[in-house]
Structure formats: structure tokens, C-alpha cells
């Protein structure tokens, strides 16, 4: 049942053109342009690609687990899909599990593609297999946090408002959430705040991991906290019709 749900959600996510642009084309553009044009973005000291690659991975996660989930779920409610699913034997946690699996399926494609292109562009992550595991943990926590936040958004607002807000938050986090530009390049005074953003924690966590720093506990705690906040809000406000 959950697998059937995951299968159809994945297919629909991949079929949706606009979402695919957001999920693949945009991150790859940022990656290639950022890596090949030296002075467009001030990324600070270090090899550009090593700073850029983890950020773009975070961007990919943000687009799928937050923006896509929020928009898709908002319209599912609008068109009565959630309501009809509520009348089938699929339990609510089954729906949630299906969505999560679908997000992870799409993200594996994204991570694979972004990772490969980054390696081709010279990305040299350090730390070996341990770093890969640490990176996967951070990715998973980031996915959980953003999915919960996406569902919370879709659960409490109308579909159109969700669409607008999900895109707005995406752009705001992209620009001001330490996704691409490392935390260290932000003004000293707001750095602690930006580090507490889910995007900041995810992207900085990935950058630290790929620089060989091991599991970034602080970032993981921040992501867990966002996951709890999103989960609570979603559980309280989520309406199925």
C-alpha cells in the first residue's frame, strides 16, 4: 500500500515540469555557473567547487522536500485527492510514508546527478566513507525537517497561498539562508541567527562534512528541532479537505 503510494507520488513529482526545473535544472545551473565564473559570487577563501557542491546539494533538498511537497500537497487538498485517499484503506501514516519515500526517491536522483557533475567539476570532498555516512545523515535530517515544514505550510493555508509562500520561502532561503554562500560570509552579527535556519544548518552541515569535519552535531540538533516544530504544526493544523 505504502509502496503503491510512493510509486505514484514519485511518478507525479517527476512528471511535473515546473517542479523538475526547480529540482534539477536550477541546482545544476547554479552549480555550473557558480563553478565556472569566478567573480559572480563571493564564496570566500577555498576552492569554489568545494564550497559550492554541498550548497547545491542542500538547495536540491530544499526544492524537493519543502517547495515541491508543500505545493503538491496544497493542490491535492484543493482537488479533493486527500479527501478521496482518506476514504481508501490507506492510513494517514501510510500517506505520509508514501510521500517521504517519493521525496527520497527524487532526491536520490538529484544527489546522484549533482554529486556526479560536482565531481566532474573537480569537487574533492575529504573524509572517505565516514564522511559519506555523515553526509547522508545530514541529508536525511534536512529532508525530514523540510518535509515536515512543507506539510505544515500546506496544512494550514489555501493552495494558492501555499504555492506563493513556498516559492517565496525558497527564494528567501536561497538568497539569505546560507544555502550557497557560506555562513562565514554573512555579517558577524547575524551569523548565529542564520545558523539556526534549517537551510543554514543543512548547507553548512554538508559543507563541514565535505571539508572533513565529521558529523556536525550542532547542525543536526537544529534540523531535529525544525523537524519537531514542523511536525507539531502539521499535526495540529493539517486538514484533509
Amino acid at each position: 500500500m505504502v509502496l503503491a503510494q510512493a510509486r505514484i507520488e514519485t511518478r507525479l513529482l517527476l512528471r511535473n515540469g515546473e517542479q523538475l526545473v526547480l529540482a534539477l535544472v536550477l541546482p545544476l545551473l547554479v552549480l555550473v555557473i557558480g563553478a565556472t565564473t569566478g567573480n559572480l559570487l563571493d564564496l570566500g577563501p577555498g576552492r569554489r567547487i568545494d564550497i559550492l557542491a554541498p550548497g547545491v546539494l542542500a538547495l536540491a533538498v530544499l526544492s524537493t522536500s519543502f517547495t515541491s511537497v508543500a505545493i503538491a500537497t496544497g493542490f491535492e487538498r484543493r482537488y479533493g485527492v486527500l479527501k478521496r485517499l482518506g476514504a481508501t484503506p490507506l492510513p494517514r501514516h501510510g500517506l505520509l510514508a508514501g510521500k517521504t519515500l517519493a521525496v527520497m526517491a527524487v532526491e536520490s536522483v538529484q544527489v546522484l546527478l549533482v554529486g556526479l557533475v560536482s565531481l566532474m567539476l573537480g569537487w574533492a570532498p575529504v573524509g572517505g566513507p565516514a564522511a559519506v555516512v555523515a553526509g547522508l545523515i545530514v541529508l536525511l535530517l534536512g529532508t525530514a525537517a523540510f518535509t515536515a515544514l512543507g506539510l505544515a505550510l500546506a496544512g494550514s493555508l489555501r493552495a494558492e497561498a501555499t504555492l506563493a509562500l513556498a516559492n517565496l520561502v525558497y527564494v528567501l532561503l536561497l538568497v539569505g539562508g546560507a544555502v550557497i554562500v557560506p555562513l562565514a560570509r554573512y555579517p558577524q552579527t547575524i551569523q548565529p541567527l542564520v545558523a539556526l535556519l534549517p537551510s543554514g544548518a543543512l548547507a553548512q552541515g554538508l559543507r563541514d562534512v565535505s571539508a572533513g569535519a565529521g558529523v556536525p552535531f550542532a547542525a543536526c540538533m537544529v534540523l531535529l528541532a525544525w523537524c519537531a516544530v514542523g511536525g507539531l504544526v502539521a499535526a495540529r493544523t493539517f486538514r484533509w479537505e
Binding site: Y79, R84, A87, T88, P89
Partner: protein
Amino acid sequence: MRYGEVAAVDTLSTQLPASQVTAVVGPNGAGKTTTLETCEGFRRPQAGTVRVLGLDPARDAAKLRPRVGVMLQSGGAWTGCRVHEALRHAAALHAHPLDVDALVERLGLGSCGSTSYRRLSGGQQQRLGLAMAIVGRPELVFLDEPTAGLDPQARRMTWELVRELRDGGVTVVLATHFLDEAEQLADRVIVIDHGRIIAAGSPGELTATGAENTVRFTAVAGLDMHDLRSALPAGCTVQEVTPGGYLVTGPVDPALIATLTAWCAARGVLAQSLAVERRSLEDVFIELTGRELRP
């Protein structure tokens, strides 16, 4: 059942017969959808109890869902989802689903199997909704206006399908605005208005109540009306409306026709163009709910 201050369904109390077709009819906004959705477990009544297959639809939802099929009044499918996909997915959520391909053919959706939901015509969307409601072999189905927007062929096909479901032991509850549909299809009709049941019974019972059915016949002019009336059951009136044109009003049943023709035969009178004019369910409906348009 209230929406805020609006009492959408108020003191609605009835039992639905198992393995039969029940039609819920009523003007726009009467509370048909609200009633069905309360039975489907989407809404909890503020007062009173609902039992579906002996269970509480809101509390025992997990037990009921595999046994109950639901067709919403509109929507319910992903706009980008193809017909085959949507139906296969609905089938995969049930333990013993019907054969998807056969069902698609049966509903005449074969040629649009790979069309996405948003590109289907209204009637095709409606058929897909029906298919998704029955694909899991439910024991009980709630159909909210299943034939709205269907062409005559598709409507007949739907009627046939509903009859087959009933003959297979499935309980069917459907809301409809087509009184002929209710008359043809339903074993029991419930008329609701302003959230209350205002009439219920078999189509025959409903059209018979009020007893304003008539028989017209022509024969030689000048029959003895007084004698005829005394031959007929109490409550009948007879009248020679035009010379040789007679009108009998009352509870028209087979016995009445037999009495009438026997009376004629005894007098050597040939009754010509004898016609029973029964009220249709639609006449009854208009009588019960008035002629004004609902908001």
C-alpha cells in the same frame, strides 16, 4: 451536523436496508452530500449517532475503509494522473480489487486510458470516480451524484452497474437529482430538505401517497356516475368531464382497474383508450419541496 452556525443536517434518522439501492434526493443544499460525508466518516455529527455496517464511521474508520467505496461529488484525482494509473493505484490500495483493464473497458474509458485526469471530459472524470469507488469490491458504496454530466448511454451503463452491484449483495447509497433515476433504480427513496427527511419509501409508495392518481377512459356518453362511484372503493371520485370522457381519481391499483372494467363489462360498455395516469416521482418531489428555486 453543523457547519459553524448552519445546521446542514438536522434530526435525520433512518435505517438503510442492506443489499439494496437507496436514493437520496433533495433540492440543492438540502444536505445530501453532508449526510453521505457523515456516513463516510469525513464529518462528525455534533449530536446523534451514525452506524455504518455496525461501526462508527469516524472512530472505526480503519476497519470500515476496506469495506466501503466512496465516490465524491467532484474531484478526487490528481490532475496530472492518467486514467489507468489512477485506477491501478486505487486497486493497489485494496486487498482483492477488480480487474482494472476490464473495469476500464466496462466504463468505456478504454480509449482514454493514458489521458491525464485534467484532460478528461466532465463525464469521463465522473466515470473514473465511479470506477475508483467500486474497484476495491466494497460491501457498501456511497455515490454522490454518479450520473451528473453523463450522456444517456453512460447513464444506462451506470444504472446497469448499480443493479449488478445490488444483485451481488452490495448496498448502494446514491444521491441524485434525477428523479427518473431514483424511480428506476432505487428500492428505497429518501427525500430530504433543509436537513430533514420529508418523505421516504419505495418509489411506488411515494408516488401512491397523496393518492392523486387518475384513470381516464372514453365510452358512450351518459354513464351513471352515481352507480359507478358506488362500485369503486371508498375515496374514489368519478366525473364525466366531457361527453363520453370520464375521469376516475383515487388510489389507483390493479384492483381498481379490474373493478372499473368489470363494471363496464356488466353493462355491455366498451371502455376505450383507458389510461392510467400515475404521478411520477418528480411530481411528488415538486409537491413536497415546492416550486421556488433554492439559493
